[in-house]
Protein backbone atom coordinates (compact mmCIF):
# COMPACT_ATOMS: atom_id res chain seq x y z
CA UNK A 1 0.00 0.00 0.00
CA UNK A 2 0.97 3.63 -0.54
CA UNK A 3 0.53 5.35 2.80
CA UNK A 4 0.76 9.08 3.43
CA UNK A 5 1.73 9.92 7.01
CA UNK A 6 1.28 13.47 8.35
CA UNK A 7 3.46 14.16 11.40
CA UNK A 8 6.87 12.69 12.07
CA UNK A 9 7.14 12.90 15.86
CA UNK A 10 7.75 9.91 18.13
CA UNK A 11 4.48 8.26 17.13
CA UNK A 12 4.87 9.02 13.42
CA UNK A 13 8.44 7.72 13.29
CA UNK A 14 7.61 4.51 15.16
CA UNK A 15 4.60 3.91 12.89
CA UNK A 16 6.63 4.53 9.72
CA UNK A 17 9.30 2.03 10.78
CA UNK A 18 6.65 -0.63 11.40
CA UNK A 19 4.90 0.07 8.09
CA UNK A 20 8.13 0.02 6.08
CA UNK A 21 9.07 -3.21 7.82
CA UNK A 22 5.80 -4.67 6.54
CA UNK A 23 6.67 -3.63 2.99
CA UNK A 24 4.53 -0.50 2.51
CA UNK A 25 5.55 2.60 0.55
CA UNK A 26 5.62 5.65 2.78
CA UNK A 27 5.40 9.35 2.10
CA UNK A 28 5.68 11.61 5.16
CA UNK A 29 4.95 15.31 5.73
CA UNK A 30 6.02 17.42 8.71
CA UNK A 31 6.44 21.17 9.10
CA UNK A 32 9.43 20.85 11.44
CA UNK A 33 12.77 19.82 9.86
CA UNK A 34 14.01 18.46 13.21
CA UNK A 35 11.12 15.99 13.22
CA UNK A 36 12.00 14.70 9.76
CA UNK A 37 15.58 14.24 10.97
CA UNK A 38 14.28 11.62 13.43
CA UNK A 39 13.95 9.25 10.48
CA UNK A 40 17.72 8.90 10.31
CA UNK A 41 18.24 8.67 14.12
CA UNK A 42 18.03 4.88 14.31
CA UNK A 43 21.34 3.26 13.19
CA UNK A 44 19.56 -0.05 12.45
CA UNK A 45 17.04 1.47 10.09
CA UNK A 46 17.20 3.41 6.82
CA UNK A 47 14.10 5.29 5.70
CA UNK A 48 13.29 4.34 2.12
CA UNK A 49 10.27 6.55 1.45
CA UNK A 50 9.71 10.19 0.58
CA UNK A 51 9.92 12.93 3.22
CA UNK A 52 8.47 16.35 2.53
CA UNK A 53 8.92 19.48 4.65
CA UNK A 54 5.60 21.34 4.75
CA UNK A 55 2.29 22.01 6.42
CA UNK A 56 -0.05 19.02 6.63
CA UNK A 57 -3.06 21.35 6.53
CA UNK A 58 -2.01 22.84 3.17
CA UNK A 59 -3.74 21.05 0.25
CA UNK A 60 -0.86 21.91 -2.10
CA UNK A 61 1.66 20.25 0.23
CA UNK A 62 -0.55 17.17 0.54
CA UNK A 63 -0.86 17.03 -3.24
CA UNK A 64 2.92 17.14 -3.65
CA UNK A 65 3.20 14.37 -1.05
CA UNK A 66 0.94 12.22 -3.25
CA UNK A 67 -2.38 12.37 -1.42
CA UNK A 68 -4.25 11.75 -4.66
CA UNK A 69 -2.63 8.38 -5.25
CA UNK A 70 -2.26 7.13 -1.66
CA UNK A 71 -4.30 4.16 -0.36
CA UNK A 72 -4.35 5.32 3.25
CA UNK A 73 -3.91 8.66 5.02
CA UNK A 74 -2.68 8.71 8.62
CA UNK A 75 -2.34 11.81 10.83
CA UNK A 76 -0.06 11.43 13.86
CA UNK A 77 0.78 14.99 15.00
CA UNK A 78 0.40 16.35 18.54
CA UNK A 79 -2.00 19.23 17.81
CA UNK A 80 -5.61 18.04 17.72
CA UNK A 81 -6.85 20.97 15.60
CA UNK A 82 -4.08 20.54 13.01
CA UNK A 83 -4.70 16.79 12.88
CA UNK A 84 -8.46 17.15 12.48
CA UNK A 85 -8.07 19.71 9.70
CA UNK A 86 -5.59 17.46 7.81
CA UNK A 87 -7.92 14.48 8.15
CA UNK A 88 -10.91 16.49 6.91
CA UNK A 89 -8.94 17.71 3.89
CA UNK A 90 -8.02 14.14 3.00
CA UNK A 91 -11.58 12.98 3.41
CA UNK A 92 -13.68 15.86 2.08
CA UNK A 93 -11.38 17.55 -0.45
CA UNK A 94 -9.41 14.57 -1.75
CA UNK A 95 -12.13 11.94 -1.23
CA UNK A 96 -9.95 9.47 0.68
CA UNK A 97 -11.83 6.63 2.34
CA UNK A 98 -9.12 5.27 4.64
CA UNK A 99 -8.26 8.16 6.95
CA UNK A 100 -6.93 7.69 10.48
CA UNK A 101 -6.43 10.58 12.84
CA UNK A 102 -4.72 10.86 16.22
CA UNK A 103 -6.77 13.04 18.61
CA UNK A 104 -5.60 13.43 22.21
CA UNK A 105 -8.79 14.93 23.64
CA UNK A 106 -11.18 12.01 24.21
CA UNK A 107 -14.28 14.14 23.75
CA UNK A 108 -13.06 15.62 20.45
CA UNK A 109 -12.16 12.12 19.29
CA UNK A 110 -15.69 10.93 20.04
CA UNK A 111 -17.46 13.88 18.40
CA UNK A 112 -15.41 13.76 15.19
CA UNK A 113 -15.91 10.01 15.01
CA UNK A 114 -19.67 10.29 15.42
CA UNK A 115 -20.49 13.56 13.70
CA UNK A 116 -17.81 13.87 11.04
CA UNK A 117 -17.22 10.19 10.38
CA UNK A 118 -13.47 10.43 10.87
CA UNK A 119 -11.75 7.41 12.32
CA UNK A 120 -10.09 8.98 15.34
CA UNK A 121 -7.55 7.22 17.54
CA UNK A 122 -7.25 8.61 21.06
CA UNK A 123 -3.88 7.90 22.75
CA UNK A 124 -5.25 9.12 26.09
CA UNK A 125 -7.99 6.49 26.05
CA UNK A 126 -5.68 3.78 24.74
CA UNK A 127 -3.09 4.42 27.44
CA UNK A 128 -5.74 4.46 30.15
CA UNK A 129 -7.14 1.16 28.85
CA UNK A 130 -3.68 -0.41 28.65
CA UNK A 131 -2.84 0.69 32.19
CA UNK A 132 -6.20 -0.53 33.43
CA UNK A 133 -5.86 -3.97 31.91
CA UNK A 134 -2.26 -4.23 33.12
CA UNK A 135 -3.51 -3.53 36.65
CA UNK A 136 -6.33 -6.04 36.27
CA UNK A 137 -3.72 -8.59 35.14
CA UNK A 138 -1.83 -7.97 38.37
CA UNK A 139 -4.83 -8.86 40.53
Amino acid sequence: MNILVVGCGHVGTALIQKLEGAGHDISVVDKHPENLRRLSDNPNYAFGGTALLGDGTDPEVLRRAGVESCDAFVVTGVEDADNLMSAQLAQKIFGKTTVLCRVSDANLAKIYRERYNIETICPTELTACALYSALRGEE
Partner: protein, 219 residues
Amino acid sequence: MKVCIAGGGKVGFYLAKSLLAHRHTVTLIEPIEAQCRYLSNALDIPVVLGNSIHQHTLEAAGCRECAAFVAVTGSDEDNLIACQMAKHLGVKKTVARASNPQNRELLHTLGVDIVVCGTDNLGHILEREIETESIRQLLPLAGGTASLNEILLPDNFKFAGKPLAQIDVPREAILVSLTRGAQFIIPRGDTTLHAGDKVICLTREDSLHELMVRWELAL
Protein backbone atom coordinates in the same frame (compact mmCIF):
# COMPACT_ATOMS: atom_id res chain seq x y z
CA MET B 1 -27.46 39.18 20.56
CA LYS B 2 -25.13 36.93 22.54
CA VAL B 3 -21.75 36.40 20.91
CA CYS B 4 -18.79 34.25 21.93
CA ILE B 5 -15.33 35.19 20.68
CA ALA B 6 -12.45 32.71 20.65
CA GLY B 7 -9.06 34.41 20.78
CA GLY B 8 -8.32 37.46 22.92
CA GLY B 9 -5.54 39.01 20.88
CA LYS B 10 -5.84 42.42 19.24
CA VAL B 11 -8.55 41.32 16.79
CA GLY B 12 -10.61 39.62 19.50
CA PHE B 13 -10.22 42.55 21.87
CA TYR B 14 -11.33 45.24 19.42
CA LEU B 15 -14.12 43.05 18.06
CA ALA B 16 -15.44 42.54 21.61
CA LYS B 17 -15.17 46.27 22.24
CA SER B 18 -17.12 47.18 19.15
CA LEU B 19 -19.79 44.51 19.78
CA LEU B 20 -20.23 45.83 23.33
CA ALA B 21 -20.61 49.36 21.97
CA HIS B 22 -23.46 48.03 19.84
CA ARG B 23 -25.06 46.57 22.98
CA HIS B 24 -24.40 42.91 22.29
CA THR B 25 -23.56 40.46 25.08
CA VAL B 26 -20.02 39.16 24.68
CA THR B 27 -17.94 36.38 26.23
CA LEU B 28 -14.30 35.72 25.37
CA ILE B 29 -12.11 32.61 25.35
CA GLU B 30 -8.36 33.04 25.73
CA PRO B 31 -5.65 30.43 26.51
CA ILE B 32 -3.13 32.73 28.28
CA GLU B 33 -3.95 33.52 31.91
CA ALA B 34 -2.33 36.97 32.08
CA GLN B 35 -4.13 38.01 28.90
CA CYS B 36 -7.45 36.79 30.41
CA ARG B 37 -6.95 39.02 33.43
CA TYR B 38 -6.14 41.98 31.21
CA LEU B 39 -9.20 41.38 29.01
CA SER B 40 -11.67 40.99 31.86
CA ASN B 41 -10.37 44.16 33.53
CA ALA B 42 -10.33 46.19 30.35
CA LEU B 43 -13.71 45.05 29.00
CA ASP B 44 -15.57 44.02 32.16
CA ILE B 45 -17.00 40.88 30.53
CA PRO B 46 -16.67 37.15 31.33
CA VAL B 47 -13.40 35.75 29.98
CA VAL B 48 -12.87 31.99 30.02
CA LEU B 49 -9.35 30.63 30.34
CA GLY B 50 -8.89 27.69 27.99
CA ASN B 51 -8.49 26.23 24.55
CA SER B 52 -11.47 27.03 22.35
CA ILE B 53 -11.46 23.66 20.58
CA HIS B 54 -12.50 21.92 23.81
CA GLN B 55 -16.17 21.41 24.54
CA HIS B 56 -15.97 22.21 28.28
CA THR B 57 -14.30 25.55 27.51
CA LEU B 58 -16.95 26.44 24.94
CA GLU B 59 -19.69 25.45 27.36
CA ALA B 60 -18.15 27.49 30.16
CA ALA B 61 -18.24 30.49 27.82
CA GLY B 62 -21.98 29.94 27.35
CA CYS B 63 -21.66 28.82 23.77
CA ARG B 64 -24.90 26.84 23.82
CA GLU B 65 -26.89 30.07 24.30
CA CYS B 66 -24.94 32.11 21.75
CA ALA B 67 -26.45 33.32 18.48
CA ALA B 68 -23.01 33.69 16.93
CA PHE B 69 -19.51 32.33 17.46
CA VAL B 70 -16.43 34.12 16.14
CA ALA B 71 -12.99 32.43 16.08
CA VAL B 72 -10.15 34.89 15.63
CA THR B 73 -7.09 33.11 17.03
CA GLY B 74 -3.87 33.22 15.04
CA SER B 75 -4.25 29.58 14.00
CA ASP B 76 -6.56 28.78 11.06
CA GLU B 77 -6.71 25.15 12.20
CA ASP B 78 -7.86 26.11 15.72
CA ASN B 79 -10.41 28.51 14.25
CA LEU B 80 -11.84 25.78 12.04
CA ILE B 81 -12.16 23.18 14.79
CA ALA B 82 -13.53 25.75 17.28
CA CYS B 83 -16.25 26.74 14.77
CA GLN B 84 -17.13 23.12 14.05
CA MET B 85 -17.39 22.43 17.79
CA ALA B 86 -19.54 25.54 18.26
CA LYS B 87 -21.83 24.27 15.47
CA HIS B 88 -21.95 20.96 17.29
CA LEU B 89 -23.17 22.80 20.40
CA GLY B 90 -25.96 24.41 18.39
CA VAL B 91 -24.60 27.85 17.47
CA LYS B 92 -26.41 29.04 14.32
CA LYS B 93 -23.80 31.36 12.86
CA THR B 94 -20.04 30.74 12.93
CA VAL B 95 -17.37 33.13 11.72
CA ALA B 96 -13.66 32.33 11.38
CA ARG B 97 -10.62 34.41 10.65
CA ALA B 98 -8.27 32.86 8.10
CA SER B 99 -4.71 34.15 8.09
CA ASN B 100 -3.88 32.15 4.99
CA PRO B 101 -5.96 33.42 2.01
CA GLN B 102 -6.26 29.94 0.51
CA ASN B 103 -8.01 28.76 3.68
CA ARG B 104 -10.90 31.13 3.06
CA GLU B 105 -12.66 28.80 0.66
CA LEU B 106 -11.44 25.69 2.45
CA LEU B 107 -12.86 26.62 5.86
CA HIS B 108 -16.15 27.54 4.23
CA THR B 109 -16.28 24.16 2.46
CA LEU B 110 -15.66 22.45 5.80
CA GLY B 111 -18.70 24.13 7.34
CA VAL B 112 -17.77 27.59 8.67
CA ASP B 113 -20.54 30.03 7.70
CA ILE B 114 -18.42 33.12 7.15
CA VAL B 115 -14.66 33.25 6.68
CA VAL B 116 -12.84 36.56 6.87
CA CYS B 117 -9.33 36.81 5.56
CA GLY B 118 -7.31 39.76 6.81
CA THR B 119 -4.45 39.41 4.37
CA ASP B 120 -6.91 39.12 1.54
CA ASN B 121 -9.10 42.04 2.55
CA LEU B 122 -6.04 44.23 2.99
CA GLY B 123 -4.99 43.24 -0.50
CA HIS B 124 -8.40 44.21 -1.84
CA ILE B 125 -8.33 47.55 -0.01
CA LEU B 126 -4.91 48.34 -1.50
CA GLU B 127 -6.11 47.26 -4.92
CA ARG B 128 -9.19 49.42 -4.54
CA GLU B 129 -7.04 52.43 -3.59
CA ILE B 130 -5.27 52.01 -6.90
CA GLU B 131 -8.47 51.47 -8.82
CA THR B 132 -10.56 54.29 -7.33
CA GLU B 133 -9.94 56.59 -10.31
CA SER B 134 -12.72 54.96 -12.29
CA ILE B 135 -14.39 52.60 -9.82
CA ARG B 136 -16.41 53.02 -6.65
CA GLN B 137 -17.70 50.28 -4.40
CA LEU B 138 -21.37 50.80 -3.56
CA LEU B 139 -22.06 47.70 -1.50
CA PRO B 140 -19.91 44.81 -0.26
CA LEU B 141 -21.72 41.45 -0.41
CA ALA B 142 -21.27 37.88 0.83
CA GLY B 143 -18.74 38.78 3.54
CA GLY B 144 -16.62 40.86 1.17
CA THR B 145 -16.27 38.18 -1.50
CA ALA B 146 -18.54 40.06 -3.92
CA SER B 147 -19.65 43.64 -4.43
CA LEU B 148 -21.83 46.09 -6.28
CA ASN B 149 -19.72 48.75 -8.01
CA GLU B 150 -20.03 51.86 -10.11
CA ILE B 151 -17.58 52.10 -12.97
CA LEU B 152 -17.02 55.35 -14.85
CA LEU B 153 -16.01 54.55 -18.42
CA PRO B 154 -12.91 56.62 -19.35
CA ASP B 155 -12.42 58.80 -22.46
CA ASN B 156 -10.25 56.17 -24.09
CA PHE B 157 -12.64 53.28 -23.27
CA LYS B 158 -11.54 50.25 -25.24
CA PHE B 159 -15.03 49.10 -26.27
CA ALA B 160 -16.63 52.56 -26.82
CA GLY B 161 -19.49 52.39 -29.36
CA LYS B 162 -19.66 48.60 -29.29
CA PRO B 163 -22.84 46.69 -28.39
CA LEU B 164 -22.65 44.82 -25.10
CA ALA B 165 -22.93 41.43 -26.86
CA GLN B 166 -19.50 42.07 -28.42
CA ILE B 167 -17.85 43.25 -25.21
CA ASP B 168 -15.71 40.94 -23.16
CA VAL B 169 -17.30 40.54 -19.68
CA PRO B 170 -16.13 37.91 -17.13
CA ARG B 171 -18.70 35.18 -16.48
CA GLU B 172 -19.11 36.14 -12.83
CA ALA B 173 -19.90 39.80 -13.49
CA ILE B 174 -23.27 41.28 -14.40
CA LEU B 175 -23.87 44.79 -15.72
CA VAL B 176 -26.97 45.88 -13.83
CA SER B 177 -27.64 49.35 -15.19
CA LEU B 178 -26.02 52.36 -16.80
CA THR B 179 -26.53 56.08 -16.54
CA ARG B 180 -25.67 58.34 -19.47
CA GLY B 181 -26.19 61.92 -18.38
CA ALA B 182 -29.77 61.93 -17.10
CA GLN B 183 -30.72 58.81 -19.02
CA PHE B 184 -31.15 55.51 -17.13
CA ILE B 185 -30.65 52.34 -19.15
CA ILE B 186 -31.03 48.66 -18.33
CA PRO B 187 -28.37 47.16 -20.58
CA ARG B 188 -29.18 44.40 -23.07
CA GLY B 189 -27.05 42.69 -25.69
CA ASP B 190 -27.66 45.47 -28.24
CA THR B 191 -26.97 48.36 -25.81
CA THR B 192 -23.81 50.27 -26.75
CA LEU B 193 -21.38 51.56 -24.13
CA HIS B 194 -19.76 54.99 -24.38
CA ALA B 195 -17.08 57.02 -22.63
CA GLY B 196 -18.59 58.87 -19.68
CA ASP B 197 -21.24 56.20 -19.01
CA LYS B 198 -21.59 55.12 -15.40
CA VAL B 199 -22.03 51.36 -15.25
CA ILE B 200 -23.41 49.61 -12.17
CA CYS B 201 -21.81 46.22 -12.02
CA LEU B 202 -22.33 43.20 -9.73
CA THR B 203 -19.18 41.06 -9.45
CA ARG B 204 -17.27 38.58 -7.44
CA GLU B 205 -14.15 40.19 -6.01
CA ASP B 206 -11.78 38.33 -8.36
CA SER B 207 -13.94 38.92 -11.42
CA LEU B 208 -14.04 42.66 -10.70
CA HIS B 209 -10.27 42.67 -11.05
CA GLU B 210 -10.61 40.54 -14.19
CA LEU B 211 -13.08 43.04 -15.64
CA MET B 212 -10.69 45.92 -14.97
CA VAL B 213 -7.96 44.04 -16.81
CA ARG B 214 -10.12 43.12 -19.81
CA TRP B 215 -11.51 46.62 -20.15
CA GLU B 216 -8.05 48.15 -19.62
CA LEU B 217 -9.28 50.41 -16.84
CA ALA B 218 -6.84 52.36 -14.64
CA LEU B 219 -4.27 49.70 -13.88
